[in-house]
Symmetry: D2
Subunit: 284 residues, 4 copies
């Protein structure tokens, strides 16, 4: 429907004329803006924006856009990213034994809901190899234990490099990543359960059941060193009642997890998520 577009995600200290500066850069080079959204965080004095424009008719060659824009961005102390809609990101799905998020993401990629390739599934177990084979995706089993963790993460990084992976999706990968790993490969989306109130620690569904909660939730977020404390991309909830057993809570939680994770991955792939501090702006 729309020809290839460029998308700019930018944040910088707020000051007058920012929208005009960026819009002029695009307009003076012949670009047609198809989406522009801007947000100001007044508490932090921060300007945040997402601008998407058609590359057809844009006068700057692709490889010149970034350096040309840097001339504008540098004096503003801006942090920014530039993406082209026809450069398809490559995702690695990391799993352990549960298949619900894995199958859901593969199905959505097939249904063209996710503008991405999925060349790699990586797991610390063998259980889900069959699914990988069914869909013709490479499956690498990297077992992990306390003793072998450093070595295993080195192997994982090697695979990410080999497969030219842009984004890791922890689709129910039940291992904690080391700070060193996250430092070296920071583009990671994770999904986990959420409760009102929270039940940190082991067996959260059992404890939520014991407390008789009426709502359970799921949160998709970027992985950071504090594993479940990274910037939130998407959340949703579902009602439960005393009729629901612990197994029902887990089943309903799985339904939520796959929907919430898929939405977060899609938002990320459309370059709609801008992270600053420990929070996100989602331009949706």
């Amino acid at each position: 429907m729309i020809s290839p577009t460029a998308t700019l995600l930018i944040s910088c200290p707020d000051r007058q004329g920012l929208v005009a500066k960026i819009a002029n850069f695009i307009y003076s080079n012949g670009g047609n803006i198809v989406h522009a959204d801007q947000h100001t965080d007044f508490a932090q004095g921060l300007f945040l924006s997402r601008i998407e424009w058609q590359l057809e008719g844009f006068n700057l060659p692709r490889d010149i856009i970034a350096p040309a824009f840097e001339a504008i961005a540098a004096p503003l102390n801006a942090q920014w990213e530039l993406h082209f809609s026809d450069e398809i990101p490559r995702i690695a799905l990391w799993v352990t034994k549960q298949d619900h998020c894995l199958l859901d993401l593969i199905w959505r990629q097939h249904a063209q809901e996710l503008p991405a390739e999925i060349p790699l599934i990586l797991s610390n177990h063998e259980n889900l190899r069959g699914i990988a084979e069914q869909f013709g995706i490479d499956y690498h089993h990297v077992p992990i234990s306390k003793a072998t963790k450093a070595e295993a993460e080195a192997r994982q990084l090697e695979l990410l490099q080999e497969y030219k992976i842009d984004l890791v999706v922890l689709a129910k990968y039940m291992q904690i990543l080391s700070p060193e790993f996250i430092d070296r490969f920071p583009k990671i989306i994770n999904i986990h359960h959420s409760f009102l109130p929270a039940f940190p620690g082991a067996n959260p569904y059992h404890r939520a059941f014991d407390r008789g909660v009426k709502i359970i939730g799921a949160t998709a977020h970027y992985a950071t060193v504090d594993l479940d404390e990274g910037p939130i991309i998407e959340q949703d909830v579902v009602r439960v009642s005393h009729r629901d057993t612990v197994e029902d809570l887990i089943r309903k939680g799985k339904d939520l997890e796959r929907v919430v994770l898929a939405r977060a991955v899609r938002l990320h792939l459309q370059h709609r998520v801008l992270v600053y501090g420990n929070r996100t702006v989602v331009f949706s």
Copy 2:
């Protein structure tokens, strides 16, 4: 928190450079943009935008802004509105006998959730005069019948003029407005029940009950000549079950109506709603 702002709502045929043109107008006159959001309806080739900027430091006097901007807007065939955040709109609440939306809107206005004044309550019955007196709001009883409709509407228009009303909120006003009335006073927000599927005609709650619906809803929209077919501002739903009697459906419907109507009125008062064709863009 923020000094007074100006807000521009604009729509025009899409073309290159629109964001730049508008942003430059504001920047070159010393304005600081605090919110800018833009949407393109590709099917209709329409550009739609909301831009809000601080008046403090803006070089143009207020009464010059509109004519100055018209010089830019006219060649674009743009339709636009300009609002100042410290010019407080005046609302007339129209009611019949039910008080739930009326009380809710008055309470929110007191709680400073609605940036508006409410100088006038207008009703085709006497029932709710007590509430008006309790809150010190003028109450005008304009009875209406088939025979007196034209006359009654003339009186209503007179009152809207006398009280310098900017917005009519039909807070459960159970009369149909004539096309002539809507033509002469087009800023009207209405609330009505919504069902999946729809039950047009009389006694919708009874018929929704008979059908055993599991969800009921409410829709707030601008009134148009097709009374319940105007541009939608906000909708929401609530779950129901076989345990709910018709009375329960009505009670839950009332809860929805007051929340959905209040959200719609607030969005309108913040100049976040842009109508085009029979639909809205809500910049929220």
Copy 3:
């Protein structure tokens, strides 16, 4: 966790002592009730109930339970069904070209969320044969046209009989069933989109988009002669905005459809749905 159970779904004219009568029947035969729920529709003077009890320790052999209970039910003018939790129903999934509901139901059956077997996929097209093969399910292609409709339905009924099917799930089957067919095989669950307000007829998503709706929904119901007017089992909605294109509405609608259909099928398989008139009681 629980040994096999018997579930009784019963409705009859309301009168004193019904709960006692049924409970005594179970208790006096040594049964332990694990779930009992009762509802009275006062408008219709109707008593409706679901009772589930453990078969372990129950003194009546399975084939005697129904005739023994009929002795109690007949004088009450009751309509009732008896189900055993270890008699696994057999489902036929009917599809046309879309795969989202099909894959979702198969996945849930694999994940043991649906207590059923799926021996048969039936379609009026060849498109989804690959999925059937992938999961080892028989796929029958029964093309259908105005001219061949009667013949095709005869073939469909033959297949349902051959595969001993208990429940047909129309998992996006885009053909209308004849009243004769529904008459001969009445256990059919269908899924369709729902809007506030409704957009009957062709291209509902396009028309909902044109109207700028803020919420879209999906309804799962039993198929009746009035195809989309049968008793509702489950409904749900999702928010949309002006940012959503028609394609986005369709994509979000698909997500809803698969969740709502799966919930309805599960409720039916657990014998939690009691139909009376054109409505349901869902004992959940």
Copy 4:
């Protein structure tokens, strides 16, 4: 619509024949059951039930029902409550300075949504006296400080006794109740914000904002010695985004609080909530 009813809430160790025993007690005394719901907590081996029957035609005089039922309940080690629908409970609303829950509950009581009387508003401040006067409800100001806490609570208990209060609703009462107080007057419903994840301690809305949560919630529960840890009656959530300031979160939180608190109070007044351990069964 329905003549006065009696409602029995009962829990006891699970065993065969419980439903029959209770139903027979009612039937043999000429009662017509209008609602019967039963739940079994298998983990705890606990039977829980709510049964409501019409008093018209019931052969036992009201004051004999409880002792007669105790003869059945005692051997079962049952805990039970008996309520009559025409004995209207008396509520005390406790507030500090915020009025949103207070006004909402008063409005609902006027609209006959809450089957209760509200003879008393009690506050540790003077701010909301005007509302009490407006609605003709007695307002008692009991200031409280660390030094005067014991004395103030004695005064509060005195007032509850004097006004024959059955239920205290903490409608944004911002003081912690002592364990001694809760011990002496245990029927207390509280409302508080809920977040995914949780933000215990001060300024939760600010911290939820800093984390960029996408959903905020509210929880209504019975007050226990662990103030915000009591059995949950009702919860709900609302979506938020980066567009929402801390003030917006607080405003949306207030909307949630009043709806969730009102639902919980109504469920309690209809005797639909059965507490066991630290959780509830809500027979709704």
